[in-house]
């Protein structure tokens, strides 16, 4: 920086404030330069992380003929020429490749498979947190243990049971299974939250003559909504993104297959038709991504809390 000083017009002769501002300006440039590797690394990693999804999304909007002739990055040669984009791929994949039906199936599967465990877990969490009965500590410890049991341990017996009952390929089969698999996490999360509510409030309700049911519905549930929302968001995304449970208990018939199963079939049957694969993949992702951007706080909390699920 010596040569800068030699031609520095403010040197000595300038009033102190201007000199100070000049010094501040240059020291800021210097700290920015020394931090440049950090910025570069971060931006590079973020770009690298986004690139695959961005490529998929851009490709899904390109006509099939273009898609099979040039890479998706070629659209950046003239990115605002809107004629090179179309929604035809989505139309094709939603109708001809049963993705539309699969989308409805996914909703049909996910909504009950979220609501049932949320209801049952809330009930049980209240019982375990605020009712006194023998064995509740043992039950809680067992539930914590069940949290990490791999799903694979249950597939064969449950599948056989379903076969005997004729439930294979029915939505009810996955609703009930996801309820069972989601409950340990739900009870664990909600019991922690409900158990940490102030005792005075619940005691006051009891003194005023509120029954357990009234306390639960009028007091505990409204107070615990943040925890319930986190679990609901987690369970919703888990079921929506699930492939294994649906594949094993539902099979791949068009009438019942959710988006994940249908997409994996598409990979098998149309593995090189990138216009269908990219649009199909985006159809499976649009709901979780929407939830991610709309409910980011609950999403992150739910994911972090549910990270050990089996």
């Amino acid at each position: 920086m010596k040569f800068l000083n030699s031609w520095n017009p403010w040197k000595r002769s300038q009033p102190p404030l201007a000199r100070y501002q000049h010094y501040r300006k240059w020291s800021r440039v210097k700290t920015w330069l020394s931090a440049a590797p950090v910025h570069l690394t971060l931006v590079a990693i973020a770009l690298l992380w986004t690139l695959p999804t961005a490529g998929l999304w851009i490709s899904s909007l390109r006509p099939a003929a273009d898609l099979s002739q040039s890479g998706w990055w070629t659209v950046f040669q003239h990115p605002f020429e809107l004629t090179q984009y179309s929604l035809q791929n989505y139309r094709d994949v939603l109708t001809a490749e049963h993705m539309g039906r699969a989308f409805l199936n996914s909703l049909m599967i996910t909504l009950p498979a979220t609501l049932i465990p949320v209801a049952i877990a809330t009930l049980a969490a209240y019982g375990l947190a605020w009712m006194r009965f023998p064995g509740r500590q043992v039950i809680m410890v067992a539930i914590v243990g069940l949290l990490v049991v791999p799903l694979q341990m249950t597939l064969i017996p449950v599948l056989r049971g379903y076969r005997d009952l004729g439930l294979v390929g029915q939505f009810a089969a996955v609703w009930l299974a996801h309820t069972g698999y989601g409950l340990p996490l739900g009870i664990y999360l909600l019991r922690n939250y409900i158990g940490s509510l102030p005792r005075e409030v619940l005691d006051a309700a009891a003194i005023d003559g509120a029954s357990h049911w009234q306390t639960l519905t009028k007091l505990v549930i409204p107070l615990s909504l943040p925890a319930i929302a986190s679990f609901a968001v987690f369970q919703f995304l888990w079921v929506w993104n699930d492939f294994l449970v649906a594949l094993v208990y539902l099979g791949a018939a068009n009438e019942v297959a959710p988006v994940t199963v249908q997409l994996s079939r598409l990979v098998g049957s149309r593995g090189q038709d990138w216009h269908l694969l990219t649009a199909g993949a985006f159809v499976t992702m649009v709901v979780p991504l929407g939830v991610f951007f709309a409910l980011q706080r609950h999403f992150v909390r739910g994911i972090l809390a549910g990270s050990l699920k089996g």
């Binding site: 490529g55 243990g145 009870i187």
Partner: protein, 334 residues
């Protein structure tokens, strides 16, 4: 088993005596907890017990075969590959995603645009494994040399003058043309002078892409939890940034690193969807969970399928015991 029955009988006795003493009111808690217990019993506890039992029976669950289903892992080459790959996944994915997550957490602590970067890197957590597989199939897409490459990775390779690579097919990326060597005695041959397990590494990359955001968010919270006067004091004493990282940050967030690593290990252990969609377990990419589904559906061998599931369970038992113990001792540290 006898102990379990005994405990059950005692529990039932306590419930009944409760009913006797307090009338139906003693039953009230069971109306709240009961539905959950029924589901847990039917979908988790009983199936786990039954799967352990089935793993000692033959493929059609009719004859007792002892340890045969487990011996299969040692004798059968395909099962050995699945075991080896699972180890590769465990070490590789956990190491890279936790390491990268840590680097990101520390670097992000110094910039103002932190939320945007965090959001972009965390976003893959919202995507299903199947969706992620399709995204990366497109990244890895391969066309023979001479044709326009659609996958960005092969486009880069060919632009640099290389030959396109079948990322999910090749088991080896040869860099040198040396003779294979054979270890005398065991008959073990090493023929890959270059990057081995190329296709498995390609699949592992997908998992790293999915899991790094999770590691980053948890570790970043831990880094922010470090008292700033501690770091400031070290700076005043003349500590350099690397010294601060190795002597202060790292020791203080070690417990979080352990939790994050455990979580990733559990997720990676059960990896199934990615392998199933990308390669179907062909070209030596099989892992335990995909092998299990194959045994179940393709070979209809419930004995071996159960044995694989039991192996997965055994691998998480230490985690299970430690979380249960911590919960019982009231620390509640998940």
């Amino acid at each position: 088993m006898a102990v379990a029955i005994g405990r059950g009988a005692i529990a039932l006795g306590i419930i009944l005596s409760n009913v006797y003493r307090r009338g139906l009111r003693g039953l009230l808690p069971w109306f709240y907890v009961g539905p959950a217990l029924v589901f847990l019993l039917l979908y988790l506890v009983l199936p786990v017990v039954q799967t352990i039992y089935l793993s000692f029976l033959d493929g059609r669950s009719q004859q007792f075969v002892g340890w045969d289903n487990y011996r299969f892992f040692v004798t059968h080459a395909a099962a050995g590959i699945a075991l080896r790959n699972n180890l590769l996944w465990l070490v590789g994915v956990t190491g890279v995603s936790v390491g990268l997550g840590l680097v990101l957490a520390v670097l992000l602590d110094r910039v103002r645009y932190e939320p945007i970067i965090k959001g972009l890197i965390f976003m893959p957590m919202a995507i299903s494994f199947v969706g992620a597989s399709v995204i990366w199939r497109f990244v890895y897409a391969y066309r023979p040399a001479g044709r326009e490459q659609l996958g960005i990775l092969n486009a880069i390779v060919t632009a640099l003058g290389g030959q396109p690579i079948g990322w999910t097919v090749e088991t080896c990326w040869p860099l040198a043309d040396w003779e294979p060597i054979t270890l005398p005695g065991v008959g073990w041959v090493w023929s890959c002078w270059g990057i081995p397990f190329l296709n498995t590494l390609a699949l592992m990359t997908i998992m790293i892409w999915l899991q790094t955001g999770f590691c980053m968010v948890l570790l970043s919270a831990a880094v922010k939890g470090i008292p700033s006067d501690l770091v400031d004091a070290a700076r005043v004493d003349g500590a350099t940034e690397p010294q601060i990282f190795w002597r202060i940050t790292l020791p203080l967030i070690r417990p979080t690193i352990a939790v994050v690593a455990t979580t990733v290990v559990i997720v990676v252990l059960k990896v199934f969807d990615i392998v199933w969609v990308m390669t179907g377990g062909h070209q030596e990419t099989e892992v335990l969970a995909s092998r299990m589904i194959k045994e179940m559906f393709n070979f209809r061998d419930f004995g071996r399928g159960s044995a694989i599931a039991v192996l997965l369970l055994l691998a998480v038992v230490p985690v299970m015991v430690s979380t249960m113990r911590r919960f019982r001792d009231g620390e509640d540290g998940l």
